[in-house]
């Protein structure tokens, strides 16, 4: 699953534009991850600040 590190996120929406599932939405100053998220990690790759991380649910 996708974890948003809110202390790092610059709420810029860069990730929203590349999500192939349309799973992300930037609502004012916070990022919402929808159920459509497949954990593909494209958003985590392009994030200018490194605020997104795909983590194994079992590890949480």
């Amino acid at each position: 699953m996708l974890q948003v590190h809110r202390d790092i996120c610059g709420y810029c929406g860069c990730c929203v534009s590349v999500c192939p599932e349309g799973a992300l939405e930037l609502i004012d100053a916070y990022l919402v991850v929808g159920e459509e998220c497949t954990g593909c990690g494209i958003c985590a790759k392009v994030c200018p600040l490194g605020a997104l991380e795909v983590v194994d649910e079992a590890e949480l």
Binding site: C14, V18, G22, D28, V46, C47, P48
Partner: protein, 398 residues
């Protein structure tokens, strides 16, 4: 807020505000909603715009202009640099805006012209009746209401959702999102009238790093790199921090700006039944420079001009709105996007050695017209081999 409008504009950036202003001036009832609590913030822009194109939409005013630009400097990977001057050396060719004030001014003008404006108001879903977009569900501080409109203009920026909810594919390819970070720095030694562009795969892979003056000793110092080149330990921020600590170790950062800039082709189609998409949401950013302010304002105005005819005819179908899509593609802006896309596709393949050679071919250029096209044409004149390397480049230059 009324329940019915002629036009509903989603997003209060320059594209949305020019659309709302144009619609109000034409006497239409128009509502512009901005999801953030303030127009113009946070900044997500390097704030550069050409002198001529700005005045098409607003009278230049010192209150929203941070710096006047007279020349540009390109710096090669090996640090060779080339100065680009207008043939009328010393004349201003562009501006660095203060987007906080600029965006607010445009929204102000839209409101003065008669547009309804609402902030902290988010479109959370389209209203679709019989396959046609007829408005949006708007959320404001815990309240939710449906607002109907004959035509909705989606001006919701790079993180656009509205047109996707209406069935359009808006996904930007990873390699074509410029992952970007910028610091507004002060107390740094710069030339206050020169923009500087640093190229190279070590400095800014498949993108560039910029210094855009904001005052005598202040500048937007930023970088955009291809999403494909971004990853843990080598993100836009890593590259920028390395540059800043080497170049401006004593500088002070008073603002951190983050963003994504699409350099892909525009959306396949920018209209649907009852819907028009403009600006960054339509992916009409210049793929070579990443500039999008003018293109957003241009498409915003054009969309309303076409909407006017549709409203007069009482026909809001995709075919009735199609003229907008056709006209921006045929416009100077549309052609520049198509051409600069081809040039960008070529430039991202260049090795540092080739970039060095290109920039070494000219330490100084005086351009009759200060544009990326004029620059490319002059580079080709000095490096005729460039044209044989990419047929598409030849075609796109006409």
């Amino acid at each position: 807020m009324k329940q019915n409008y002629d036009l509903l504009v989603i997003g209060g950036g320059p594209g949305g505000a020019v659309a709302a202003r144009t619609a109000a001036e034409k006497g239409f009832s128009v509502c512009m909603v901005e999801k953030r609590p303030a127009i113009g913030v946070p900044i997500r822009c390097a704030e550069g715009i050409g002198k001529d194109v700005l005045s098409e939409f607003i009278t230049p005013d010192s209150k929203f202009i941070s710096a006047e630009i007279k020349r540009a400097r390109l710096v090669a990977p090996d640090s060779t640099s080339m100065m680009l001057e207008s043939e009328m050396a010393g004349s201003k060719v562009g501006y660095i805006l203060d987007r906080k004030v600029f965006d607010r001014e445009l929204a102000w003008q839209a409101a003065d012209a008669g547009a309804d404006v609402f902030v902290k108001t988010r479109a959370s879903a389209p209203i679709i009746v019989g396959g046609e977009v007829k408005g949006a569900t708007l959320e404001h501080c815990g309240t939710r209401r449906e607002v109907h409109a004959d035509i909705v203009i989606a001006a919701d920026g790079v993180e656009s959702k509205f047109s996707r909810w209406c069935g359009m594919n808006t996904t930007v390819p990873v390699r074509e999102i410029m992952s970007s970070v910028q610091y507004l720095m002060t107390d740094i030694d710069i030339d206050p009238h020169t923009t500087v562009f640093f190229l190279g795969n070590e400095v800014a892979p498949q993108g560039y790093l910029w210094i855009f003056p904001k005052g005598e000793r202040s500048a937007n110092v930023g970088i955009g790199i291809s999403g494909k080149k971004s990853g843990a330990g080598h993100r836009a921020r890593d590259y920028l921090d390395r540059f800043v600590s080497a170049t401006f170790p004593e500088g002070k950062t008073i603002e951190c700006v983050v963003g994504g800039v699409s350099v892909c082709k525009p959306l396949e189609c920018t209209v649907a039944d009852g819907l028009m998409v403009i600006g960054d949401a339509a992916r009409v950013v210049d793929p070579l420079t990443g500039g999008g302010i003018y293109n957003a304002m241009f498409t915003g105005k054009l969309a309303v001009e076409v909407a006017e005819k549709a409203i007069e005819a009482g026909n809001f179908s995709k075919s009735a709105l199609m003229d907008y899509d056709t006209r921006w593609r045929e416009s100077f802006m549309g052609k520049a996007i198509a051409r600069n896309y081809q040039i960008k596709e070529y430039f991202v393949t260049l090795s540092d050695e080739k970039l060095n050679a290109l920039i070494q071919s000219a330490s100084k250029m005086n351009l009759s017209e200060f544009s990326t096209l004029a620059l490319i044409k002059e580079l080709i004149r000095r490096n005729p081999k460039l044209l044989t390397e990419l047929a598409a480049l030849r075609a796109s230059l006409g």
